[in-house]
Amino acid sequence: MVVKVAVIGAGIVGLSVAKVLQERFPNLPITLLADKFSPGTTSDGAAGLWMPFLLGDTPESDVYAYSKDTWDFLKELWNSPSGGKLGVSLVPCLQTSDTVSSIPSYSDFIYGFQVLKREELALYKKPQWKQGYRFVTFTCEGSRLMPHLMEQFRRKGGNVVVKRLECFEELASDFDVIINCSGIGAKELANDLSVHPIRGHIFRIKAPWQKSILIDDSDVGNYIIPNQDSVVLGGTHDKDQWDTIPRKEDAKFILEGCTSLFPSLEKAEILYEWVGLRPGRSQLRVELEKKMIDGKPLTVIHNYGHGGSGLTTFYGCALKVANLLEGILTSENYLASKL
C-alpha cells in the first residue's frame, strides 16, 4: 500500500513542506492542493524579513528552533550561486521600540547583534524610542522563492491541483496523510477559532538607494524593508479584521511616518499599495492529529498559525513536519518497505 500525501496550501509554508518531503521521501507521491498560487498568496506580498514577529504565545524554544533552522537554510541559499535570484538578501537592520523588553534569544546567532547605548539612541531624536537593537539579518522574498520551489516540485514528479477545500473529508478517500498548510484558511478548514487575521497594510515604492531596514516596533510604529526591486513601507497589525481595502488614515500614517524617518523616500515613486491578512493564531500549530473518516484512518499534520513569521519559520516547520511524517510512516500501520 503506497501512502498518498496531500499538502494543502501553496504559500511559502505549503511549498517548503512539499520540497522537504520530496527530498526526505523521494518515492512518496505528493499532491499539492490550493486555491491560491504565487503571485497571489500572502507570502508574495510580504517583505520577507527574517524576524520572529506576531507569534502569540508560541513557546520561545519552538520559535527559536523553527527560526534558527530557517536562518540556516537562508544562509545556505545566500551562499549559493542563485541565492539572489531565489530572493535572499543580507541586510543591516535597526530595530527600535517605545517599550523595553528582554533581549531576544535569537540574538545569539543573528549577525552582529548590539543593544544601542542611550547616547546612540538619542542621536535619532525620537524621544519615544526607549530601546534600540542593531543587527544584520536576511530577507527572503516569497515571490522569488516560491516559483522556484513550485518548479522543483513539479520537476520531481509532484502533482498540483487547483481546488478550494471546504473540509478534510473531501480528501479522505484519495489520501492517507494531509499536511494542512492552509494559513488563514485553517480557521474554516480545521474549525479553529483561535485563528485570526492580523491585517497588514503596506506600500511598495521604488527606492533602490535604501539599503537598510528600520523597524519601529512601538505599538504604533513604521517599518522600512528594502527588497530587490522595491522597498516596503509599513505598517499595521490589526487583529481580527478581515477587509483588505486600504484605509486612508493608515496610508497617511505609513507614508508620513516612513518619510519622516528617511526624508529621501518622499521622492520615491509609489508602485502599489496592498493589504494582506497575516495568518495569526494564539500560537503556531505544528502537530499531528489522527482522524477516522467513514472507518478509514486519516492523518492530518497541521502546520499553520505562522502570524507575521511565515518567512522566518517556514523551513524549520517543514523539517518538523517531515519528522512527524517519518514517525508515522515507520509505525506499525505503514511498512517502511512500501515507500
Partner: protein
C-alpha cells in the same frame, strides 16, 4: 565705477572640480565661475569609482590635522545630503558592510573612520563565517556611497541654476586661461602634464559594473577584492597597479577580479554584467591643495589654487579638500599674497 565681478575658472569636471565649482558659487554668488574641462560625467574617472566613503589609512594631506579635517568635513557634507530629501537625486546612500582578511589584522582598523562613522566595530565570530573563506579578521561599518553617475549631474544642475557656466575645451597650458582672476586646478590626472608634476602617479584600477539587486551591503576581501552596491549597479573590483598607464580593460584583470569576487560572494554568479571599465587613479603623496602664482608666457601673474592628486579617494575627500581650497581662493580674491611663484 562698477567693479567687474571676479572671474574664476575651475579646470576639471570630475568630482573635485564640480564640488569645488558649486561650493564657490554657493558661497560667493557674486563670482563669475566657469568650469572648463574636456571630459564630463560618464567620461570622467569619478564615474568609474564605486564612490564609497573609505579613505586608505595611508591617505595623506599636508599635515595629519589637515588630512583629518578634510575627512571630517567631507563626511559631514555628504551625510547632510543623505539625511535630506535630495539624497536620491544626489546619489548619496548609506551602506553598511564587512571588511575581511584571512591574514592582516591591520586591514580592519582605520584611524579616519573610527570615531567618525556612526558604526565601526569588529566583526564577530559568526560574521567572519558569513562569506566562504578562512576569514580571521573583520570589521563591520556603516558609511556612505556617493555615486558620481548621479552626483555629477546633480552638482551640474545646481551649479548652472546659480549662473555657473560650463565649457568643453582641452587646456594644454595655464597660458590658455591667463585672463582669469583665479584658476582652480582640479584636473586630476591631467595635472601630471599640465603642471609637469612627476609626483603624480597613475594607479590603475579596473571594475565590473553588474546588476545584482540582492546585494545591499559591501564586502571587502584580501588583495583588493571588493563588492560595493550602488543605486542601480554593484561595483566589483579591483586592482591597484602602480605607474600603469593602461586605460583599456585588461582581460587577465577581468578574470582575476571576477574569480575573487565570486569566491567572496557566490551569489554573484547570477549577476548580469553591465560593463567593465578601467581608470587611472591620480595618486600623489601628499595630495596637493595649495596656492601658486604662475607667470604666463605673456608675463601675467596668474593666481592658481591646485587641488589634485586624490588618488583613489577623490569621491571620499572632495568636499573636504574643496572647502580648504575655497578658503585659499578667498585669500587670493581678498588680496592676500602667496609665497609660491612659478614661471611658465
Amino acid at each position: 565705477m562698477m567693479t567687474e565681478p571676479k572671474r574664476v575658472c575651475v579646470l576639471g569636471a570630475g568630482i573635485v572640480g564640480m564640488t569645488t565649482a558649486l561650493m564657490l558659487k554657493e558661497k560667493h554668488a557674486e563670482l563669475d565661475v566657469t568650469v572648463i574641462a574636456d571630459k564630463f560625467e560618464q567620461d570622467t574617472l569619478s564615474d568609474v569609482a564605486a564612490g564609497i566613503f573609505r579613505p586608505s589609512t595611508s591617505f595623506k594631506g599636508p599635515t595629519p590635522e589637515i588630512t583629518k579635517q578634510w575627512l571630517v568635513d567631507a563626511y559631514h557634507h555628504y551625510k547632510a545630503i543623505q539625511d535630506s530629501k535630495e539624497a536620491a537625486e544626489a546619489g548619496v546612500q548609506e551602506v553598511s558592510g564587512y571588511v575581511l582578511s584571512s591574514k592582516f589584522p591591520e586591514v580592519t582598523k582605520n584611524q579616519f573612520l573610527e570615531g567618525l562613522l556612526p558604526v565601526y566595530r569588529p566583526a564577530d565570530e559568526l560574521e567572519l563565517k558569513i562569506c566562504p573563506g578562512n576569514w580571521k579578521y573583520g570589521a563591520f561599518f556603516t558609511t556612505l556611497v556617493i555615486e558620481s553617475r548621479y552626483h555629477l549631474p546633480w552638482l551640474r544642475e545646481k551649479f548652472e541654476m546659480l549662473g555657473g557656466k560650463i565649457v568643453k575645451k582641452t587646456i594644454d597650458s595655464f597660458n590658455d586661461v591667463y585672463d582669469y582672476d583665479l584658476v582652480m586646478n582640479c584636473t586630476g590626472f591631467g595635472a601630471k602634464k599640465l603642471c609637469l608634476d612627476h609626483d603624480l602617479v597613475p594607479i590603475r584600477g579596473q571594475v565590473f559594473k553588474v546588476k545584482a539587486p540582492w546585494v545591499k551591503m559591501f564586502f571587502y576581501g584580501d588583495y583588493d577584492t571588493y563588492i560595493i552596491p550602488g543605486i542601480d549597479y554593484v561595483t566589483l573590483g579591483g586592482c591597484r597597479q602602480y605607474d600603469s598607464f593602461k586605460q583599456e580593460v585588461d582581460k587577465y584583470d577581468s578574470a582575476s577580479i571576477w574569480e575573487r569576487c565570486v569566491e567572496l560572494l557566490p551569489n554573484l554568479k547570477s549577476a548580469e554584467v553591465i560593463k567593465e571599465v578601467a581608470g587611472l587613479r591620480p595618486h600623489r603623496t601628499p595630495v596637493r591643495v595649495e596656492r601658486e602664482v604662475i607667470v604666463t608666457s605673456g608675463g601675467k601673474h596668474l593666481q592658481v589654487v591646485h587641488q589634485y592628486g586624490h588618488g583613489g579617494y577623490g569621491v571620499t575627500t572632495a568636499p573636504g579638500t574643496a572647502k580648504y581650497a575655497v578658503k585659499l581662493a578667498e585669500d587670493v580674491l581678498g588680496g592676500h599674497r602667496s609665497k609660491v611663484h612659478a614661471k611658465l
